[in-house]
Protein backbone atom coordinates (compact mmCIF):
# COMPACT_ATOMS: atom_id res chain seq x y z
CA UNK A 1 0.00 0.00 0.00
CA UNK A 2 3.04 2.28 -0.19
CA UNK A 3 2.30 5.33 -2.28
CA UNK A 4 5.05 6.57 -4.59
CA UNK A 5 6.28 9.93 -3.39
CA UNK A 6 6.24 12.34 -6.29
CA UNK A 7 6.40 15.65 -4.54
CA UNK A 8 5.91 18.43 -5.57
CA UNK A 9 2.85 17.52 -7.57
CA UNK A 10 3.22 17.57 -11.30
CA UNK A 11 0.14 18.22 -13.37
CA UNK A 12 0.72 15.53 -15.95
CA UNK A 13 -2.90 14.56 -16.40
CA UNK A 14 -4.63 17.79 -15.56
CA UNK A 15 -4.30 20.52 -18.15
CA UNK A 16 -4.47 24.14 -17.25
CA UNK A 17 -7.68 25.83 -18.32
CA UNK A 18 -6.88 28.51 -20.89
CA UNK A 19 -7.36 32.10 -19.84
CA UNK A 20 -10.06 32.69 -22.40
CA UNK A 21 -12.03 29.75 -21.04
CA UNK A 22 -12.23 31.00 -17.49
CA UNK A 23 -13.36 34.01 -15.48
CA UNK A 24 -15.21 36.76 -17.26
CA UNK A 25 -14.47 35.38 -20.72
CA UNK A 26 -16.42 32.24 -20.03
CA UNK A 27 -19.35 33.97 -18.37
CA UNK A 28 -22.65 35.21 -19.62
CA UNK A 29 -21.63 38.65 -18.39
CA UNK A 30 -18.73 38.57 -20.85
CA UNK A 31 -20.96 37.74 -23.83
CA UNK A 32 -23.54 40.32 -22.91
CA UNK A 33 -20.78 42.91 -22.50
CA UNK A 34 -19.58 42.04 -25.99
CA UNK A 35 -23.13 42.31 -27.33
CA UNK A 36 -23.45 45.68 -25.63
CA UNK A 37 -20.24 46.93 -27.26
CA UNK A 38 -21.52 45.83 -30.66
CA UNK A 39 -24.83 47.54 -29.97
CA UNK A 40 -23.06 50.77 -29.02
CA UNK A 41 -21.14 50.73 -32.31
CA UNK A 42 -24.32 50.10 -34.25
CA UNK A 43 -26.05 52.93 -32.43
CA UNK A 44 -23.16 55.23 -33.26
CA UNK A 45 -23.68 54.66 -36.95
CA UNK A 46 -27.46 54.57 -36.72
CA UNK A 47 -27.87 57.91 -35.02
CA UNK A 48 -25.54 60.91 -34.90
CA UNK A 49 -27.19 61.97 -31.66
CA UNK A 50 -26.37 58.82 -29.73
CA UNK A 51 -22.82 59.66 -28.65
CA UNK A 52 -23.54 63.30 -27.85
CA UNK A 53 -22.79 64.47 -24.34
CA UNK A 54 -26.42 65.20 -23.57
CA UNK A 55 -27.60 61.78 -24.63
CA UNK A 56 -24.81 59.99 -22.78
CA UNK A 57 -25.72 61.87 -19.60
CA UNK A 58 -29.30 60.90 -20.18
CA UNK A 59 -28.43 57.23 -20.64
CA UNK A 60 -26.14 57.22 -17.59
CA UNK A 61 -28.84 58.78 -15.45
CA UNK A 62 -31.59 56.49 -16.68
CA UNK A 63 -29.81 53.23 -16.12
CA UNK A 64 -28.58 54.41 -12.74
CA UNK A 65 -32.26 54.66 -11.81
CA UNK A 66 -32.61 50.89 -11.77
CA UNK A 67 -29.01 49.78 -11.44
CA UNK A 68 -28.58 50.39 -7.69
CA UNK A 69 -31.60 48.22 -6.94
CA UNK A 70 -30.22 45.66 -9.41
CA UNK A 71 -27.00 45.46 -7.39
CA UNK A 72 -29.09 44.67 -4.32
CA UNK A 73 -31.24 42.05 -5.96
CA UNK A 74 -28.09 40.45 -7.42
CA UNK A 75 -26.95 39.64 -3.86
CA UNK A 76 -30.23 37.83 -3.26
CA UNK A 77 -30.12 36.04 -6.61
CA UNK A 78 -26.57 34.79 -5.95
CA UNK A 79 -27.80 33.06 -2.79
CA UNK A 80 -30.47 31.38 -4.91
CA UNK A 81 -33.30 33.57 -3.65
CA UNK A 82 -35.45 36.21 -5.28
CA UNK A 83 -36.86 39.52 -4.09
CA UNK A 84 -40.03 40.68 -5.80
CA UNK A 85 -40.67 43.51 -3.36
CA UNK A 86 -38.03 45.92 -4.72
CA UNK A 87 -40.45 48.02 -6.80
CA UNK A 88 -42.82 48.61 -3.90
CA UNK A 89 -39.88 49.15 -1.58
CA UNK A 90 -38.57 51.94 -3.83
CA UNK A 91 -41.91 53.72 -3.65
CA UNK A 92 -42.41 53.30 0.08
CA UNK A 93 -38.93 54.49 1.05
CA UNK A 94 -39.22 57.50 -1.24
CA UNK A 95 -42.62 58.31 0.17
CA UNK A 96 -41.51 58.05 3.80
CA UNK A 97 -38.45 60.19 3.05
CA UNK A 98 -40.43 63.03 1.52
CA UNK A 99 -43.18 62.81 4.14
CA UNK A 100 -40.67 62.99 6.98
CA UNK A 101 -38.93 65.86 5.23
CA UNK A 102 -42.17 67.82 4.88
CA UNK A 103 -43.20 67.01 8.42
CA UNK A 104 -39.89 68.13 9.94
CA UNK A 105 -40.04 71.35 7.92
CA UNK A 106 -43.35 72.54 9.36
CA UNK A 107 -42.32 75.22 11.90
CA UNK A 108 -45.45 74.87 14.04
CA UNK A 109 -45.39 71.11 14.60
CA UNK A 110 -43.67 69.59 17.66
CA UNK A 111 -41.13 67.72 15.50
CA UNK A 112 -40.62 70.69 13.21
CA UNK A 113 -39.77 73.14 15.98
CA UNK A 114 -36.63 71.13 16.66
CA UNK A 115 -35.41 71.43 13.11
CA UNK A 116 -36.64 74.73 11.68
CA UNK A 117 -37.48 78.30 12.69
CA UNK A 118 -39.16 81.24 10.97
CA UNK A 119 -36.98 83.90 9.44
CA UNK A 120 -37.39 87.51 10.62
CA UNK A 121 -39.79 88.30 7.76
CA UNK A 122 -42.26 85.77 9.19
CA UNK A 123 -42.68 83.94 5.87
CA UNK A 124 -39.48 82.11 5.06
CA UNK A 125 -38.76 78.82 6.83
CA UNK A 126 -35.11 78.35 7.74
CA UNK A 127 -33.39 75.16 8.85
CA UNK A 128 -31.66 75.19 12.22
CA UNK A 129 -28.89 72.99 10.85
CA UNK A 130 -28.78 72.94 7.05
CA UNK A 131 -28.84 69.39 5.76
CA UNK A 132 -29.96 67.79 9.01
CA UNK A 133 -33.55 67.42 7.86
CA UNK A 134 -32.33 65.77 4.68
CA UNK A 135 -30.18 63.35 6.65
CA UNK A 136 -32.95 62.42 9.08
CA UNK A 137 -35.55 61.94 6.37
CA UNK A 138 -33.27 59.79 4.20
CA UNK A 139 -32.41 57.69 7.25
CA UNK A 140 -36.14 57.33 7.94
CA UNK A 141 -36.71 56.14 4.36
CA UNK A 142 -33.84 53.65 4.61
CA UNK A 143 -35.08 52.64 8.07
CA UNK A 144 -38.40 51.37 6.74
CA UNK A 145 -36.51 49.51 4.02
CA UNK A 146 -34.32 47.94 6.69
CA UNK A 147 -37.37 46.74 8.58
CA UNK A 148 -38.99 45.29 5.47
CA UNK A 149 -35.70 43.56 4.60
CA UNK A 150 -35.45 42.09 8.09
CA UNK A 151 -39.01 40.78 7.85
CA UNK A 152 -38.27 39.21 4.44
CA UNK A 153 -35.07 37.67 5.75
CA UNK A 154 -36.69 36.40 8.94
CA UNK A 155 -39.57 34.73 7.09
CA UNK A 156 -37.22 33.13 4.55
CA UNK A 157 -34.21 32.17 6.68
CA UNK A 158 -35.77 31.42 10.07
CA UNK A 159 -39.34 30.37 9.24
CA UNK A 160 -38.29 28.68 6.02
CA UNK A 161 -40.92 30.25 3.76
CA UNK A 162 -40.21 30.35 0.04
CA UNK A 163 -38.51 33.58 -1.07
CA UNK A 164 -40.91 33.94 -3.99
CA UNK A 165 -44.02 33.83 -1.82
CA UNK A 166 -42.59 35.91 1.03
CA UNK A 167 -41.42 38.73 -1.19
CA UNK A 168 -44.57 38.58 -3.31
CA UNK A 169 -46.46 39.19 -0.08
CA UNK A 170 -44.06 41.97 0.87
CA UNK A 171 -44.58 43.55 -2.56
CA UNK A 172 -48.26 43.90 -1.77
CA UNK A 173 -47.82 44.82 1.91
CA UNK A 174 -45.37 47.64 1.22
CA UNK A 175 -47.33 49.01 -1.74
CA UNK A 176 -50.48 48.94 0.40
CA UNK A 177 -48.74 50.74 3.26
CA UNK A 178 -47.64 53.41 0.80
CA UNK A 179 -51.26 54.03 -0.15
CA UNK A 180 -52.30 54.01 3.51
CA UNK A 181 -49.75 56.54 4.78
CA UNK A 182 -50.25 58.94 1.88
CA UNK A 183 -53.96 58.33 1.52
CA UNK A 184 -53.28 57.27 -2.05
CA UNK A 185 -51.93 60.62 -3.07
CA UNK A 186 -48.22 60.14 -2.70
CA UNK A 187 -46.01 62.83 -1.23
CA UNK A 188 -43.64 65.63 -2.20
CA UNK A 189 -40.32 66.61 -0.73
CA UNK A 190 -40.62 70.08 0.78
CA UNK A 191 -39.06 72.51 3.22
CA UNK A 192 -35.73 74.28 3.36
CA UNK A 193 -33.70 71.13 2.59
CA UNK A 194 -35.62 70.23 -0.57
CA UNK A 195 -33.01 71.95 -2.73
CA UNK A 196 -30.24 69.88 -1.16
CA UNK A 197 -32.38 66.84 -1.76
CA UNK A 198 -32.74 67.59 -5.47
CA UNK A 199 -29.04 68.35 -5.76
CA UNK A 200 -28.10 65.09 -4.02
CA UNK A 201 -30.41 62.94 -6.12
CA UNK A 202 -30.70 64.42 -9.59
CA UNK A 203 -27.90 66.95 -9.84
CA UNK A 204 -24.55 66.40 -11.46
CA UNK A 205 -20.90 66.84 -10.58
CA UNK A 206 -18.69 68.07 -13.45
CA UNK A 207 -21.32 66.88 -15.90
CA UNK A 208 -21.58 63.40 -14.38
CA UNK A 209 -25.07 62.63 -13.03
CA UNK A 210 -24.99 62.06 -9.26
CA UNK A 211 -26.94 58.77 -9.37
CA UNK A 212 -24.25 57.41 -11.67
CA UNK A 213 -21.57 58.34 -9.15
CA UNK A 214 -23.48 56.56 -6.38
CA UNK A 215 -23.82 53.56 -8.64
CA UNK A 216 -20.10 53.35 -9.38
CA UNK A 217 -19.17 53.64 -5.70
CA UNK A 218 -21.69 51.01 -4.63
CA UNK A 219 -20.71 48.66 -7.45
CA UNK A 220 -17.04 48.86 -6.49
CA UNK A 221 -17.93 48.25 -2.85
CA UNK A 222 -20.04 45.28 -3.89
CA UNK A 223 -17.18 43.83 -5.97
CA UNK A 224 -14.86 43.99 -2.98
CA UNK A 225 -17.45 42.51 -0.63
CA UNK A 226 -18.38 39.66 -2.98
CA UNK A 227 -14.90 38.59 -3.97
CA UNK A 228 -12.68 39.62 -1.10
CA UNK A 229 -14.71 39.26 2.08
CA UNK A 230 -15.76 36.12 3.95
CA UNK A 231 -19.37 37.33 3.74
CA UNK A 232 -19.19 37.44 -0.07
CA UNK A 233 -17.65 33.99 -0.19
CA UNK A 234 -20.48 32.69 2.00
CA UNK A 235 -23.06 34.33 -0.28
CA UNK A 236 -21.64 32.38 -3.23
CA UNK A 237 -21.37 29.16 -1.21
CA UNK A 238 -25.00 29.48 -0.16
CA UNK A 239 -26.07 29.73 -3.79
CA UNK A 240 -23.78 26.91 -4.87
CA UNK A 241 -24.72 24.33 -2.26
CA UNK A 242 -26.76 25.40 0.72
CA UNK A 243 -26.34 22.08 2.50
CA UNK A 244 -22.55 22.23 2.15
CA UNK A 245 -22.62 25.78 3.46
CA UNK A 246 -24.48 24.60 6.53
CA UNK A 247 -22.22 21.58 7.12
CA UNK A 248 -19.05 23.67 6.86
CA UNK A 249 -20.29 25.97 9.59
CA UNK A 250 -21.33 29.00 7.58
CA UNK A 251 -23.97 31.01 9.50
CA UNK A 252 -26.58 30.37 6.82
CA UNK A 253 -29.47 32.10 8.58
CA UNK A 254 -27.50 35.27 9.22
CA UNK A 255 -26.13 35.49 5.69
CA UNK A 256 -29.63 35.05 4.24
CA UNK A 257 -31.13 37.75 6.42
CA UNK A 258 -28.25 40.06 5.51
CA UNK A 259 -28.75 39.69 1.75
CA UNK A 260 -32.45 40.52 1.99
CA UNK A 261 -31.64 43.55 4.13
CA UNK A 262 -29.01 44.70 1.62
CA UNK A 263 -31.50 44.25 -1.20
CA UNK A 264 -34.22 46.23 0.59
CA UNK A 265 -31.77 49.03 1.47
CA UNK A 266 -30.57 49.24 -2.13
CA UNK A 267 -34.16 49.41 -3.34
CA UNK A 268 -34.98 52.07 -0.74
CA UNK A 269 -32.01 54.19 -1.77
CA UNK A 270 -32.96 53.75 -5.41
CA UNK A 271 -36.50 54.91 -4.68
CA UNK A 272 -35.28 57.99 -2.84
CA UNK A 273 -33.07 58.90 -5.80
CA UNK A 274 -35.89 58.39 -8.29
CA UNK A 275 -38.22 60.59 -6.25
CA UNK A 276 -35.63 63.38 -6.39
CA UNK A 277 -35.66 63.18 -10.15
CA UNK A 278 -39.45 63.00 -10.36
CA UNK A 279 -39.85 65.77 -7.76
CA UNK A 280 -42.40 63.64 -5.93
CA UNK A 281 -43.14 60.17 -4.68
CA UNK A 282 -46.50 59.22 -6.21
CA UNK A 283 -48.23 56.21 -4.68
CA UNK A 284 -47.92 54.25 -7.93
CA UNK A 285 -44.24 55.03 -8.36
CA UNK A 286 -41.94 52.24 -9.57
CA UNK A 287 -44.84 49.85 -10.09
CA UNK A 288 -43.54 46.63 -11.65
CA UNK A 289 -39.95 47.88 -11.54
CA UNK A 290 -39.07 44.60 -9.84
CA UNK A 291 -39.46 42.96 -13.24
CA UNK A 292 -37.02 45.38 -14.90
CA UNK A 293 -34.57 44.97 -12.05
CA UNK A 294 -34.67 41.17 -12.09
CA UNK A 295 -34.56 41.16 -15.91
CA UNK A 296 -31.45 43.36 -15.86
CA UNK A 297 -29.76 41.10 -13.31
CA UNK A 298 -30.55 37.97 -15.32
CA UNK A 299 -29.46 39.50 -18.64
CA UNK A 300 -26.22 40.51 -16.98
CA UNK A 301 -25.51 36.92 -16.01
CA UNK A 302 -26.93 36.39 -12.52
CA UNK A 303 -28.24 32.83 -12.37
CA UNK A 304 -31.65 32.43 -10.75
CA UNK A 305 -30.56 28.96 -9.62
CA UNK A 306 -27.96 30.68 -7.46
CA UNK A 307 -24.21 30.80 -7.20
CA UNK A 308 -23.42 33.12 -10.11
CA UNK A 309 -23.62 36.89 -10.48
CA UNK A 310 -21.84 40.14 -9.77
CA UNK A 311 -21.94 43.92 -9.92
CA UNK A 312 -20.51 44.18 -13.44
CA UNK A 313 -23.24 41.90 -14.77
CA UNK A 314 -25.92 43.89 -12.96
CA UNK A 315 -24.71 47.13 -14.51
CA UNK A 316 -24.21 45.65 -17.97
CA UNK A 317 -27.77 44.34 -17.85
CA UNK A 318 -29.14 47.76 -16.90
CA UNK A 319 -27.06 49.55 -19.54
CA UNK A 320 -28.20 47.15 -22.22
CA UNK A 321 -31.85 47.71 -21.34
CA UNK A 322 -31.39 51.47 -21.34
CA UNK A 323 -29.41 51.60 -24.58
CA UNK A 324 -32.13 49.61 -26.30
CA UNK A 325 -34.82 51.93 -24.97
CA UNK A 326 -32.80 55.00 -25.88
CA UNK A 327 -31.88 53.58 -29.28
CA UNK A 328 -35.48 52.83 -30.15
CA UNK A 329 -36.41 56.40 -29.35
CA UNK A 330 -33.56 57.83 -31.42
CA UNK A 331 -34.38 55.50 -34.28
CA UNK A 332 -37.96 56.74 -34.02
CA UNK A 333 -39.30 53.26 -33.44
CA UNK A 334 -42.34 53.10 -31.21
CA UNK A 335 -41.09 52.69 -27.64
CA UNK A 336 -43.81 50.12 -27.10
CA UNK A 337 -41.46 47.68 -28.81
CA UNK A 338 -39.10 47.96 -25.86
CA UNK A 339 -40.82 45.43 -23.65
CA UNK A 340 -41.00 42.90 -26.43
CA UNK A 341 -37.31 43.33 -27.17
CA UNK A 342 -36.37 43.06 -23.51
CA UNK A 343 -38.17 39.74 -23.33
CA UNK A 344 -36.35 38.46 -26.40
CA UNK A 345 -33.01 39.55 -24.96
CA UNK A 346 -33.61 37.82 -21.61
CA UNK A 347 -34.23 34.55 -23.40
CA UNK A 348 -31.37 35.05 -25.88
CA UNK A 349 -28.84 35.87 -23.15
CA UNK A 350 -29.68 32.77 -21.17
CA UNK A 351 -29.83 30.65 -24.33
CA UNK A 352 -26.35 31.70 -25.45
CA UNK A 353 -24.99 30.82 -22.03
CA UNK A 354 -26.69 27.43 -22.16
CA UNK A 355 -25.25 26.68 -25.62
CA UNK A 356 -21.78 27.68 -24.45
CA UNK A 357 -21.87 25.47 -21.36
CA UNK A 358 -23.03 22.53 -23.54
CA UNK A 359 -20.05 23.02 -25.85
CA UNK A 360 -17.33 22.92 -23.20
Amino acid sequence: MAMPMESPISFTNVGKIKWWQRGIFASQTGYVLLALAVLLVIMHFASPYFFTEGNMQNVAKNFSFIAIATLGVTFVIITGGIDLSVGSMMCFSAMITSMVMTELSAPGSPAGSLFVHMAADGKTVLANVPGLILLVSVLAGLGVALIAGLVNGFCIAVLGLSPFVTTLGMLSIVRGLGYVVSNGRGSFPGGPDADYFYAATSGDVLGVPVPFIYLVILALAMAVVLHHSPFGRHVFALGGNEKAAELTGIPVVRVKIEVYVICALAAGLQGIIISGWLGSAPANMATSYELNVIAAAVIGGANLAGGIGGPLGAIVGCVLLEVIRNGLVLAQVSSYWQQTLVGVIIILAVLVDRIRSRMT
Partner: protein, 252 residues
Protein backbone atom coordinates in the same frame (compact mmCIF):
# COMPACT_ATOMS: atom_id res chain seq x y z
CA UNK B 1 -4.45 -3.16 17.67
CA UNK B 2 -4.05 -0.02 19.73
CA UNK B 3 -2.75 -0.09 23.26
CA UNK B 4 -5.34 -0.70 25.93
CA UNK B 5 -3.86 1.81 28.36
CA UNK B 6 -4.28 4.85 26.03
CA UNK B 7 -7.26 7.13 26.52
CA UNK B 8 -9.67 6.42 23.68
CA UNK B 9 -10.10 9.40 21.38
CA UNK B 10 -13.77 8.54 21.09
CA UNK B 11 -15.86 6.54 23.51
CA UNK B 12 -19.57 5.91 23.10
CA UNK B 13 -21.61 4.33 25.87
CA UNK B 14 -25.18 3.16 25.46
CA UNK B 15 -25.92 5.44 22.50
CA UNK B 16 -29.51 5.20 21.31
CA UNK B 17 -31.61 7.27 18.95
CA UNK B 18 -35.32 7.28 18.26
CA UNK B 19 -37.08 9.14 15.48
CA UNK B 20 -40.66 9.16 16.71
CA UNK B 21 -41.65 5.50 16.92
CA UNK B 22 -38.65 4.29 14.94
CA UNK B 23 -35.69 3.03 16.90
CA UNK B 24 -32.69 3.79 14.70
CA UNK B 25 -29.97 2.96 17.21
CA UNK B 26 -29.97 1.01 20.43
CA UNK B 27 -27.30 0.59 23.10
CA UNK B 28 -24.21 1.17 20.99
CA UNK B 29 -20.89 1.07 22.88
CA UNK B 30 -17.69 1.64 21.03
CA UNK B 31 -14.19 2.98 21.45
CA UNK B 32 -11.71 4.36 18.97
CA UNK B 33 -8.04 4.71 19.92
CA UNK B 34 -5.70 7.38 18.57
CA UNK B 35 -4.14 6.33 15.28
CA UNK B 36 -6.59 3.49 14.84
CA UNK B 37 -8.52 2.87 11.64
CA UNK B 38 -11.95 1.44 12.33
CA UNK B 39 -14.22 0.15 9.61
CA UNK B 40 -17.94 0.66 10.17
CA UNK B 41 -19.99 -1.71 8.08
CA UNK B 42 -23.61 -2.60 7.76
CA UNK B 43 -26.40 -2.80 5.23
CA UNK B 44 -28.57 0.17 4.31
CA UNK B 45 -30.72 1.07 7.28
CA UNK B 46 -28.44 -0.66 9.77
CA UNK B 47 -27.84 2.60 11.63
CA UNK B 48 -24.36 3.51 10.34
CA UNK B 49 -25.39 6.91 9.02
CA UNK B 50 -27.34 7.76 12.16
CA UNK B 51 -24.33 6.83 14.29
CA UNK B 52 -22.01 8.96 12.15
CA UNK B 53 -24.40 11.88 12.29
CA UNK B 54 -24.57 11.65 16.07
CA UNK B 55 -20.78 11.68 16.35
CA UNK B 56 -20.59 14.55 13.85
CA UNK B 57 -23.10 16.63 15.77
CA UNK B 58 -25.92 16.54 13.20
CA UNK B 59 -28.25 14.74 15.64
CA UNK B 60 -28.29 14.58 19.41
CA UNK B 61 -28.52 11.07 20.80
CA UNK B 62 -31.74 10.13 22.64
CA UNK B 63 -29.72 8.07 25.12
CA UNK B 64 -26.14 7.48 26.11
CA UNK B 65 -22.96 9.43 26.44
CA UNK B 66 -20.22 10.57 24.07
CA UNK B 67 -16.73 11.08 25.49
CA UNK B 68 -14.08 12.68 23.34
CA UNK B 69 -10.46 12.34 24.49
CA UNK B 70 -11.68 11.47 27.95
CA UNK B 71 -14.24 14.22 28.58
CA UNK B 72 -17.98 14.14 27.99
CA UNK B 73 -19.14 16.24 25.03
CA UNK B 74 -22.53 17.45 23.81
CA UNK B 75 -22.77 18.62 20.23
CA UNK B 76 -25.73 20.62 19.06
CA UNK B 77 -24.31 21.54 15.65
CA UNK B 78 -21.65 20.06 13.33
CA UNK B 79 -19.45 23.07 14.12
CA UNK B 80 -19.26 21.98 17.76
CA UNK B 81 -17.91 18.58 16.77
CA UNK B 82 -15.42 20.19 14.45
CA UNK B 83 -14.27 22.50 17.23
CA UNK B 84 -13.09 19.58 19.40
CA UNK B 85 -11.35 17.85 16.49
CA UNK B 86 -13.87 15.66 14.67
CA UNK B 87 -13.87 16.09 10.89
CA UNK B 88 -16.27 14.42 8.49
CA UNK B 89 -15.95 13.75 4.80
CA UNK B 90 -19.58 13.52 3.73
CA UNK B 91 -20.72 11.05 1.14
CA UNK B 92 -21.94 13.82 -1.18
CA UNK B 93 -18.73 15.69 -0.24
CA UNK B 94 -20.55 18.92 0.64
CA UNK B 95 -18.80 21.00 -2.02
CA UNK B 96 -19.99 24.25 -3.59
CA UNK B 97 -19.54 23.66 -7.35
CA UNK B 98 -19.39 27.33 -8.21
CA UNK B 99 -16.33 27.99 -6.06
CA UNK B 100 -12.69 27.11 -6.58
CA UNK B 101 -10.95 24.17 -4.93
CA UNK B 102 -9.14 26.47 -2.50
CA UNK B 103 -12.37 28.29 -1.60
CA UNK B 104 -14.03 24.96 -0.86
CA UNK B 105 -11.18 23.73 1.29
CA UNK B 106 -11.40 26.88 3.40
CA UNK B 107 -15.19 27.22 3.35
CA UNK B 108 -16.40 28.51 6.71
CA UNK B 109 -12.84 29.09 8.01
CA UNK B 110 -11.35 31.44 5.45
CA UNK B 111 -7.94 32.94 6.06
CA UNK B 112 -8.15 36.70 6.40
CA UNK B 113 -5.85 39.66 6.32
CA UNK B 114 -6.65 42.70 8.39
CA UNK B 115 -6.74 46.09 6.71
CA UNK B 116 -7.51 48.30 9.66
CA UNK B 117 -11.01 47.38 10.79
CA UNK B 118 -11.76 45.37 7.65
CA UNK B 119 -10.80 41.72 7.25
CA UNK B 120 -10.43 40.64 3.65
CA UNK B 121 -9.80 37.17 2.26
CA UNK B 122 -6.18 36.16 1.93
CA UNK B 123 -6.47 34.46 -1.47
CA UNK B 124 -2.76 33.85 -1.87
CA UNK B 125 -2.26 32.13 1.48
CA UNK B 126 -5.34 29.96 0.97
CA UNK B 127 -4.23 28.90 -2.52
CA UNK B 128 -0.73 28.09 -1.27
CA UNK B 129 -1.97 26.03 1.67
CA UNK B 130 -4.51 24.23 -0.53
CA UNK B 131 -1.79 23.36 -3.06
CA UNK B 132 0.31 21.99 -0.21
CA UNK B 133 -2.58 19.83 1.00
CA UNK B 134 -3.31 18.53 -2.51
CA UNK B 135 0.39 17.71 -2.75
CA UNK B 136 0.20 15.68 0.45
CA UNK B 137 -2.78 13.84 -1.00
CA UNK B 138 -0.95 13.29 -4.33
CA UNK B 139 -3.86 14.82 -6.13
CA UNK B 140 -3.32 16.78 -9.30
CA UNK B 141 -5.68 19.52 -8.31
CA UNK B 142 -5.17 23.20 -8.97
CA UNK B 143 -6.41 25.42 -6.13
CA UNK B 144 -7.81 28.01 -8.55
CA UNK B 145 -9.88 25.61 -10.66
CA UNK B 146 -13.62 25.51 -10.16
CA UNK B 147 -14.90 22.36 -8.48
CA UNK B 148 -17.58 22.18 -11.19
CA UNK B 149 -14.90 21.20 -13.71
CA UNK B 150 -13.26 18.50 -11.57
CA UNK B 151 -13.19 14.72 -11.71
CA UNK B 152 -14.61 12.56 -8.92
CA UNK B 153 -11.14 11.94 -7.48
CA UNK B 154 -10.25 15.60 -7.45
CA UNK B 155 -13.51 16.42 -5.70
CA UNK B 156 -12.73 13.73 -3.15
CA UNK B 157 -9.30 15.27 -2.62
CA UNK B 158 -10.86 18.67 -2.02
CA UNK B 159 -13.23 17.22 0.56
CA UNK B 160 -10.44 15.33 2.30
CA UNK B 161 -8.06 18.30 2.19
CA UNK B 162 -10.62 20.13 4.29
CA UNK B 163 -10.15 17.72 7.16
CA UNK B 164 -6.39 18.43 7.15
CA UNK B 165 -6.81 22.14 7.87
CA UNK B 166 -7.27 21.75 11.55
CA UNK B 167 -5.59 19.29 13.85
CA UNK B 168 -8.37 16.77 13.60
CA UNK B 169 -8.06 13.83 15.97
CA UNK B 170 -10.84 11.81 14.44
CA UNK B 171 -11.74 11.80 10.76
CA UNK B 172 -14.90 10.04 9.68
CA UNK B 173 -15.25 9.18 6.02
CA UNK B 174 -18.66 8.29 4.67
CA UNK B 175 -18.21 6.01 1.64
CA UNK B 176 -15.09 7.80 0.39
CA UNK B 177 -14.38 5.17 -2.24
CA UNK B 178 -17.88 4.65 -3.58
CA UNK B 179 -17.76 6.78 -6.72
CA UNK B 180 -14.13 6.96 -7.77
CA UNK B 181 -11.70 5.11 -10.00
CA UNK B 182 -9.37 2.28 -8.96
CA UNK B 183 -6.31 4.54 -8.94
CA UNK B 184 -8.12 7.12 -6.87
CA UNK B 185 -9.26 4.46 -4.41
CA UNK B 186 -5.57 3.62 -3.91
CA UNK B 187 -4.90 7.29 -3.26
CA UNK B 188 -7.68 7.59 -0.70
CA UNK B 189 -6.51 4.46 1.10
CA UNK B 190 -2.97 5.83 1.03
CA UNK B 191 -4.22 8.98 2.64
CA UNK B 192 -5.90 6.99 5.39
CA UNK B 193 -2.52 5.39 6.08
CA UNK B 194 -0.90 8.80 6.30
CA UNK B 195 -3.57 10.01 8.73
CA UNK B 196 -2.93 6.94 10.86
CA UNK B 197 0.82 7.56 10.88
CA UNK B 198 0.16 10.99 12.30
CA UNK B 199 -1.88 9.55 15.15
CA UNK B 200 -5.24 10.55 13.71
CA UNK B 201 -8.04 8.07 14.27
CA UNK B 202 -10.09 7.27 11.19
CA UNK B 203 -13.59 5.82 10.96
CA UNK B 204 -14.23 4.43 7.53
CA UNK B 205 -17.85 3.87 6.62
CA UNK B 206 -17.85 1.69 3.56
CA UNK B 207 -19.65 -0.98 1.60
CA UNK B 208 -16.47 -2.08 -0.12
CA UNK B 209 -15.08 -5.10 1.70
CA UNK B 210 -11.61 -4.98 0.03
CA UNK B 211 -11.05 -1.39 1.16
CA UNK B 212 -12.01 -2.15 4.73
CA UNK B 213 -9.70 -5.17 4.85
CA UNK B 214 -6.90 -3.18 3.21
CA UNK B 215 -6.69 -0.35 5.73
CA UNK B 216 -8.68 -1.07 8.88
CA UNK B 217 -7.29 -2.33 12.17
CA UNK B 218 -10.71 -3.25 13.44
CA UNK B 219 -14.15 -3.66 11.98
CA UNK B 220 -17.51 -2.93 13.57
CA UNK B 221 -20.65 -4.38 12.06
CA UNK B 222 -24.06 -2.79 12.60
CA UNK B 223 -27.35 -4.50 11.99
CA UNK B 224 -30.87 -3.33 12.85
CA UNK B 225 -29.57 -0.42 14.89
CA UNK B 226 -27.29 -2.49 17.10
CA UNK B 227 -23.61 -3.28 17.15
CA UNK B 228 -23.31 -6.96 16.22
CA UNK B 229 -19.56 -7.35 15.99
CA UNK B 230 -16.36 -5.52 16.91
CA UNK B 231 -13.31 -7.54 15.89
CA UNK B 232 -9.68 -6.94 15.00
CA UNK B 233 -9.37 -7.32 11.26
CA UNK B 234 -6.87 -10.20 11.54
CA UNK B 235 -9.34 -12.30 13.54
CA UNK B 236 -12.11 -12.19 11.00
CA UNK B 237 -12.72 -12.72 7.31
CA UNK B 238 -14.77 -11.09 4.57
CA UNK B 239 -17.07 -14.12 4.66
CA UNK B 240 -17.78 -13.70 8.36
CA UNK B 241 -18.39 -9.97 7.96
CA UNK B 242 -20.79 -10.58 5.08
CA UNK B 243 -22.67 -13.11 7.20
CA UNK B 244 -22.87 -10.56 10.04
CA UNK B 245 -24.10 -7.81 7.75
CA UNK B 246 -26.82 -9.91 6.18
CA UNK B 247 -27.83 -11.52 9.45
CA UNK B 248 -26.86 -15.04 8.45
CA UNK B 249 -24.74 -14.88 11.58
CA UNK B 250 -26.36 -13.01 14.48
CA UNK B 251 -23.33 -11.72 16.36
CA UNK B 252 -19.63 -12.23 16.89
Amino acid sequence: MAQVDATPVLELTGIGKEFGAIRALHGVDLQVQPGEVVGLMGDNGAGKSTLVKIIAGNFRPSHGEIRFAGSAVHFSRPVDARAVGIEVVYQDLALADNLTAAANVFLGRELKRKFGPIALLDHKAMAARALELFGELRSETRPDDLVKQMSGGQRQAVAIARTRLSNARLVMMDEPTAAISVRQVEQVLGLIHRLKEQGVAVMLISHRMPDVFAVCDRVIVMRRGEKRADKPIDQTSPEEITALITGAKEAA
